[in-house]
Amino acid sequence: MNAMSSNGKLLSVRNLRTYFETEDGLVKAVDGIEFELGRGETLGIVGESGSGKSVTSLSLMRLIPDPPGKIVAGEVKLNGDDLLKLSPAEIRDIRGKRIAMIFQDPMTSLNPFMRISKQLMEVTQLHLGHHRAQAYEHAIDMLEQVGIPDARARADGYPHELSGGMRQRVMIAMALSCQPELLIADEPTTALDVTIQAQILELIKRLKSDTGASVILITHDLGVVAGMTDHIVVMYAGKIFECAPTAELFAQPGNPYTHALLRSVPDPTAREQKLYQIPGLPPDLAHLPMGCPFAPRCERAEELCHREFPPFVKLTREHYSLCHFANEVYAQANAKPGK
């Protein structure tokens, strides 16, 4: 196991393709994704429902249900080890220990029938070889770290005794129990109300800096990624449409889709304005149109866009965009006053 991969990145994903065989046809949920993540960095994956964000995260951990889904191609290197080439036993070893995941709905992510302490203990007993007392103490410690009040008394309770925010904290405690190198947070705050959302995000930030883990934050909420991430990847129809450092993505998007997403965020200071929405619906992944998948909904789509698949244009060293007119969009965004 290399301590350092060749370019010093913690995670390197190349040409990841995950397809699903359905009655409707072959659904290319993730079709050629590439990105990298450095140590201690946070990457945001943003997209509408059906863009392939969750499937990407499940593919990283090889949790795609095997029929009907299959990772047909790609390379996922965690510190140099290609996860897609490992045996089932090896990948099970990695899950929970080197990569951990927290899910969207804390109400259903915890086993309702098991005590919280038992669910936490299972992780360390499995991966760190703790015996019972050790695992129990570690569980209490983790609960305290994530801010559960009176952790020792609560630990022996059941999930239904906790509110949504607390359950999500428990999930975070479970995920970070073994100090993983990578934490994948799949819409961790979507099911929570806004004040709790802020608390949970702060918690993730703090724990990330305490443990030095890298984080992949998957969400459809641009506000969430703005404050949390170093880089952002925008996905649509299973493809990456744009990737850039966070500040630059917001200030100067290079892709009409990103631009449209940013416009869709309601502006509380604007008065008497009709809310902008991207016309149309996300495409049927089983029957993608020829050419750019976003062309049917794009405001500046031209005949070329419907005909040919766009190139992945490099705008700056770290800013790429999948568009025939990437450079123009980028330049125009610069000229316009920032939103």
Binding site: R95, F103, D105, G147, P149, Y158, H160, S163, M174
Partner: protein, 381 residues
């Protein structure tokens, strides 16, 4: 002999209703207040009115929130959470028929276990003792002595050989209960493993496994048991009993497998299963540690209803002479002996029969009560 019909629909997912309860009506600790001191844990204070009303709150697959305990949290006290089992117990106690069934079952079990020893010590009668003097008239028990006075020596009468029937009924109870419990246990072990594996793995393997169950279902179990017992006759009485356990268990696991499979299938798509896989838990552990305990509700109910079925099967077999054989007695063999003299000495059949009937319907009441207690969706409150 009819099989017990499935006590509840087992189309996958119909028993369990995994509902996303997004409204957290529970302890509102959103603001994380400084934790109040623990109150001494006694029974939680009863608020004057139920805030839940008739609404069933489902936060887990089959169970409702701990009623009566969480409400105190709003008053600022920390109350230990009520477990799902405690709630079920409380609901069970409200069901009078189930309580009656439970009491009767307990009484009969205690009587069967302790009875024979007590009777032997007090009166000297055991199930195989033939008293030497026969000075009692043989009329409907309790007998009258030769001089016309009432005698309680044989409250249930005697059989043809003069053995005390009460002692025989209680001894028979021991055997009947033991066979029923162990056979149920065998069917539980086989049924749960088989059903949970089929349900979790799904796909073609599941299809194959369930078709096997379907085929076995269609076979007349009496014949199978007879064949099993005939093919491998056991020499010792203990061996005979063991055979019975296994044979009866082997034919009664089928419905249990179906039930567990249904439960597991509706549970396996819940997010906590994915979360468990994401922490690296192996498939076996997921099935047996995460999923099976979640199925315990219906499993317990069905096990409680399997016991009387097996008991009846054993009685039937013993009646035919295939089950428990002399010198051991069971309720079925007693019934067989008594049936021969039904016209002359009816009590020889009536008492064992009544006792067994009492046990069977008490178990059924208990099973029904458990089902209502453990599956709130089916309550009609």
């Amino acid at each position: 002999m009819t099989r017990v019909t499935e006590p509840f629909a087992v189309a996958s997912g119909s028993v369990l209703h995994p509902v996303n309860d997004k409204t957290s009506k529970l302890a509102g600790h959103g603001k994380e207040p400084t934790e109040p001191a623990l109150t001494p844990l006694g029974s939680p204070p009863e608020p004057p009115v139920s805030p839940h009303g008739d609404e069933a709150i489902h936060t887990g697959p089959e169970f409702a929130v701990g009623e009566g305990d969480v409400r105190s949290a709003e008053a600022g006290e920390y109350v230990a959470g009520s477990s799902l089992w405690k709630d079920a117990w409380r609901r069970l106690l409200r069901n009078k028929l189930a309580v009656f069934g439970m009491i009767v079952v307990i009484l009969l079990v205690v009587a069967s276990l302790a009875g024979p020893t007590i009777i032997k010590r007090v009166t000297g009668y055991s199930y195989d003792l033939i008293p030497k003097e026969e000075t009692l008239n043989k009329s409907f028990p309790p007998f009258r002595a030769a001089d016309g006075s009432f005698s309680w020596t044989h409250p249930m009468g005697t059989d043809n050989a003069g053995r005390d029937i009460l002692a025989r009924v209680l001894s028979g109870g021991q055997i009947s209960l033991m066979v029923a419990l162990i056979a149920t246990l065998v069917s539980l072990v086989i049924g749960i493993s088989y059903g949970a594996t089929a349900g979790y793995l799904g796909g073609r393997l599941d299809d194959l496994m369930m078709r096997i169950v379907d085929v076995l279902y269609s076979l007349p179990y009496v014949i199978i048991v007879i064949v099993l017992l005939a093919l491998l006759p056991a020499k010792t009485p203990t061996g005979q009993l063991a055979e019975l356990f296994i044979a009866l268990g082997a034919v009664s696991w089928l419905t249990m497998a179906r039930i567990v499979r249904g439960q597991v299938m509706s549970l396996k798509n819940q997010e906590f299963v994915l979360a468990a896989r994401a922490t690296g838990v192996s498939t076996t552990k997921i099935i047996f540690r995460h999923l099976v305990p979640n199925t315990l509700g219906p499993v317990i109910v069905y096990a409680t209803l399997t016991v009387p079925t097996v008991m009846l099967s054993e009685a039937f077999l013993s009646f035919l002479g295939l089950g428990v054989r002399p010198p051991r007695v069971s309720w079925g063999s007693l019934a067989a002996d008594g049936a021969q003299n039904l016209a002359i000495y009816p009590w020889q059949l009536i008492f064992p029969g009544l006792t067994m009937a009492l046990m069977l319907f008490s178990l059924n009441f208990l099973g029904d009560g458990l089902r209502d207690a453990l599956d709130p969706q089916m309550r009609r409150e």
